[in-house]
């Protein structure tokens, strides 16, 4: 009963969400798309970082790479092929980054992942200015906002489905164990580097695809727009608020926070970054394991 419910409920929600654009206004559709995007980003981020506790600030490195791939290729290749190419580039980039950095511990990985986003942005800027001689590109694609939303919704559903599937497998167990104690994990026969690499590549590919799917909305794209570090920070704070090591945690954090940020950035554009920072601190201090874990703790306390 519980099992069918845990499958039926998300599916029903998915159908409802997929039908929503038929009645939503253009503004509401924009909100839905934003939410779907951040649910996807936060869930994909948590797929790797939630259990391994490797806090990655490289979300926008992959997200931006996806968007930029579309910007460069959208006039020369058909759209589905462009998406596939973006996925391959994202996976390749994640493979190189993962192989060289997943041995870094804790804070060093955080700093590296942040630096990576800046590095890629600077590299592309340099290339555009010095080689192609243009900064900024246009994306003219025949895709409606609805089409983008449906694609993002599908990617988000896929991400959460993939997370649930992995958690039930040996790979999921390995991930949880690595976050707790790498020595014992290795001595339980887990190939640490391989497990981390597989999941990092999976998550990064999804994030790259999210950037590629979202990009037609911008129409005009340049490195400082698509490699905006705020995206990385928002993703982390959303996943942490909901609970990065739970299946539904990132989604639960992404929806309300996206709405709050949307409101703040339009009504308080000047103080918005300060509020964002304060919120970040508050989440880490008050709910280090997320809302879902907090609720669980309260329940246990009531029982005891």
């Amino acid at each position: 009963m519980r099992k069918t419910l845990s499958l039926a409920l998300p599916l029903a929600a998915l159908v409802l969400l997929a039908a929503a654009p038929l009645v939503a206004s253009a503004y509401q559709l924009g909100l839905l798309l934003g939410m779907a995007t951040y649910v996807t980003l936060a869930s994909a981020w948590a797929l790797f970082s939630g259990h391994t506790r490797y806090i990655s600030l490289a979300t926008v490195a992959f997200y931006g790479t996806g968007a930029y791939t579309v910007a460069v290729l959208n006039e020369s290749l058909p759209y589905p092929v462009v998406l596939a190419v973006a996925g391959v580039i994202g996976a390749g980039l994640a493979l190189v980054v993962g192989l060289s950095t997943l041995r870094l511990a804790g804070i060093y990985f955080v700093i590296f992942s942040f630096g990576l986003s800046e590095l890629i942005r600077e590299l592309i800027t340099w290339y555009e200015v010095n080689v192609t001689g243009t900064l900024g590109r246009y994306i003219f694609l025949d895709i409606t906002a609805r089409g983008i939303y449906w694609q993002m919704l599908a990617l988000g559903a896929f991400t959460i489905g993939l997370t649930a599937w992995i958690h039930r497998r040996r790979l999921g167990l390995a991930l949880r164990v690595i976050g707790d104690d790498e020595t014992v994990a290795a001595h339980s026969g887990i190939h640490l580097a391989r497990v981390k690499l597989i999941v990092f590549v999976l998550a990064s590919t999804i994030i790259t695809l999210a950037g590629a799917i979202a990009s037609p909305r911008w129409v005009y794209v340049e490195p400082s727009i698509v490699f905006n570090p705020t995206v990385s920070f928002l993703t982390v704070i959303m996943a942490l608020l909901g609970g990065a090591n739970r299946l539904w945690g990132p989604a639960l954090g992404a929806v309300p926070l996206f709405l709050v940020f949307e409101w703040l950035s339009s009504d308080f554009p000047d103080t918005y970054p300060i509020i964002l920072g304060l919120l970040f601190i508050a989440v880490v201090f008050v709910l280090p394991n997320g809302v879902l874990a907090g609720i669980e703790r309260l329940r246990q306390r009531r029982k005891a």
Partner: protein, 238 residues
């Protein structure tokens, strides 16, 4: 079964092990005794693949152990219980144990081995659903040892299992180790509690400042006044 030869290990300029040689025969329980910083954990760490020695060799069942990556040791029957428990605090006792049976060699017969572990530590059977991190230090150590046993080891490496435990809990732990030992498992143990360890072990090596300064049958070492003075607080009369 295990043959360590001329092992030298350095952390930067500091030499932790200086030409250490030791042996563990099949079915033996061998203790490594020494003060803090003598290199005991480094020696066990080298066998467990945690640290790379600068020179020397470790052979295990006629193969070069140093050539094996860490995650494959368990497939060859080596199980390590690291210092400081080494359990997964967010998981239940049962999940911790199942995790021990993750290696391919341990998958068959896992249920039977779990019953053995429960027989060895009845407390774990009663608390199989408890989150391991909420248990006492002694119980967590039982979980850690139980997890190691679940991997069907031929050689069990124990790093300071009684560290930080109350004397009565440590006593209980040593009693359990005695039962494991009686089952015929080969054990290499690093301990500060020399008296209790020597009472169980067949042989022991004495380590000081990275060198072996003595070795012998546990029984003989227990009665050696020099050993008593250096490692047993000078009082081993009981």
């Amino acid at each position: 079964m295990l043959e360590i030869k001329d092992l030298t290990l350095r952390y930067g300029k500091h030499t932790a092990l200086d030409g250490v040689s030791a042996e563990v025969g099949k079915g033996e329980m061998v203790a490594i005794l020494g003060a803090n910083g003598a290199g005991k954990s480094s020696l066990l760490g080298a066998v467990g693949g945690r640290v790379r020695p600068a020179s020397g060799s470790i052979r295990y069942q006629d193969q070069d152990l140093l050539a094996l990556p860490q995650h494959l040791l368990v497939e060859h029957g080596i199980a390590l219980v690291p210092e400081g428990r080494g359990i997964f605090p967010a998981m239940t006792v049962e999940d911790n144990l199942s995790l021990g049976a993750l290696p391919r060699r341990a998958q068959a017969g896992a249920a039977a081995r779990r019953d053995e572990v429960f027989g060895l530590f009845p407390k774990l059977a009663q608390r199989r659903g408890q989150i391991a991190g909420t248990m006492s230090g002694g119980e967590q150590q039982m979980v850690a040892i139980g997890r190691a046993l679940m991997s069907a080891p031929d050689l069990l490496l124990l790093d300071e299992p009684s560290l930080g435990l109350a004397p009565i809990v440590a006593q209980e732990l040593f009693a359990a180790l005695g039962r494991i030992r009686a089952g015929g498992l080969t054990i290499m143990i690093v301990e500060q509690n020399a008296a209790a360890t020597l009472a169980l072990a067949d042989r022991a090596y004495l380590l000081e400042a990275g060198r072996i300064i003595g070795a012998g049958a546990a029984e003989a070492l227990r009665n050696d006044p020099a050993v008593a003075a250096a490692f047993l607080g000078g009082a081993l009369t009981d």
